[in-house]
C-alpha cells in the first residue's frame, strides 16, 4: 500500500532562516504528491502539487518542492521563513484506491 512519511515532527527556526521539510513516499502507483498547510485555527490549504513535468514545483507564499524520483522524495523548501509561516505542514499522495494518504505532519514554529 502506498504511504507517505515525514521525517521531522517539530521544527523550530528563527525568522529569515531557510526551511526544508522532508517527505518520502513509497514506491508504486501513479505519482501524485501534495503539500498542505494548516495554520493555527484555520483549515487545510493546498500549498503545491506535483503530477508530472518539471520536478521543481512552485507553490503559494514562496514555497517550492522538488520531486526526486531516485530518492522517492518530495521535500518542501522556502528560502526565508517568516513568523506567519508557523503552522503544521502535511505531505500527501493518493493510494491506488484513490484515497488521499497523509504523512504524520511537521509542526513548524518560527521565532520572531
Amino acid at each position: 500500500a502506498q504511504s507517505v512519511s515525514q521525517h521531522n515532527h517539530h521544527v523550530i527556526l528563527s525568522e529569515a532562516a531557510s526551511l526544508e521539510l522532508g517527505c518520502n513516499y513509497s514506491y508504486g502507483g501513479t505519482v501524485n504528491l501534495f503539500w498542505y498547510v494548516q495554520y493555527p485555527g484555520q483549515h487545510l490549504q493546498l500549498l503545491l502539487k506535483y503530477f508530472s513535468g518539471d520536478p521543481l514545483v512552485k507553490g503559494i507564499k514562496g514555497f517550492e518542492a522538488e520531486f526526486i524520483k531516485s530518492k522517492f522524495s518530495f521535500n518542501l523548501r522556502k528560502p526565508s521563513v517568516q513568523w506567519s509561516d508557523t503552522a503544521e505542514y502535511f505531505c500527501a499522495r493518493y493510494n491506488q484506491g484513490g484515497k488521499l494518504i497523509f504523512g504524520q505532519g511537521t509542526e513548524l514554529s518560527v521565532k520572531p
Binding site: 493546498l46 502539487k49 502535511f90 484506491g97 484513490g98 488521499l100 494518504i101 504524520q104
Partner: protein, 114 residues
C-alpha cells in the same frame, strides 16, 4: 467562489449518542471525501463519494456512514459515539476525471465526546 463549507463548527456529545455532520462542496465539484484528524496526527480517510455513489471507504467501523445528495452535498453520520471519536472531521471536495484531481478542504467540525 465559495470554498467547502461544513456545519456545525463545533459539537459536544456524550458517549452512545449519534451525530450528523454536513458538508457542501465547491461549486462544480462532484466528489466529497471525509477525513478524521486526531490531535497531533495527519487526517485519516473515512469515505469518498462521487455522483452519490460510495467510491472508497477507509478503515473505520460500521458506526460511521455517509451519503451524498443530488446537489453533491454530503452528510457523515456516526452512531454510538465513543470517547475516541473526539476529533476534527474534515470534508474535502474535488473534481474527478481531470487527471490531476486535487482535494480542497473545509474548515472542519470539531467533535468532542464526553
Amino acid at each position: 467562489d465559495a470554498g467547502v463549507t461544513q456545519s456545525p463548527t463545533h459539537l459536544i456529545k456524550t458517549r452512545g449518542q449519534q451525530v450528523t455532520l454536513r458538508c457542501s462542496p465547491i461549486s462544480g465539484h462532484k466528489s466529497v471525501s471525509w477525513y478524521q484528524q486526531v490531535l497531533g496526527q495527519g487526517p485519516q480517510f473515512i469515505f469518498q463519494y462521487y455522483e452519490k455513489e460510495e467510491r472508497g471507504r477507509g478503515n473505520f467501523p460500521d458506526r460511521f456512514s455517509a451519503r451524498q445528495f443530488p446537489n453533491y452535498s454530503s452528510e457523515l453520520n456516526v452512531n454510538a459515539l465513543l470517547l475516541g471519536d473526539s476529533a476534527l472531521y474534515l470534508c474535502a471536495s474535488s473534481r474527478p476525471g481531470t487527471g490531476e484531481e486535487t482535494q480542497y478542504f473545509g474548515p472542519g467540525t470539531r467533535l468532542l465526546v464526553l
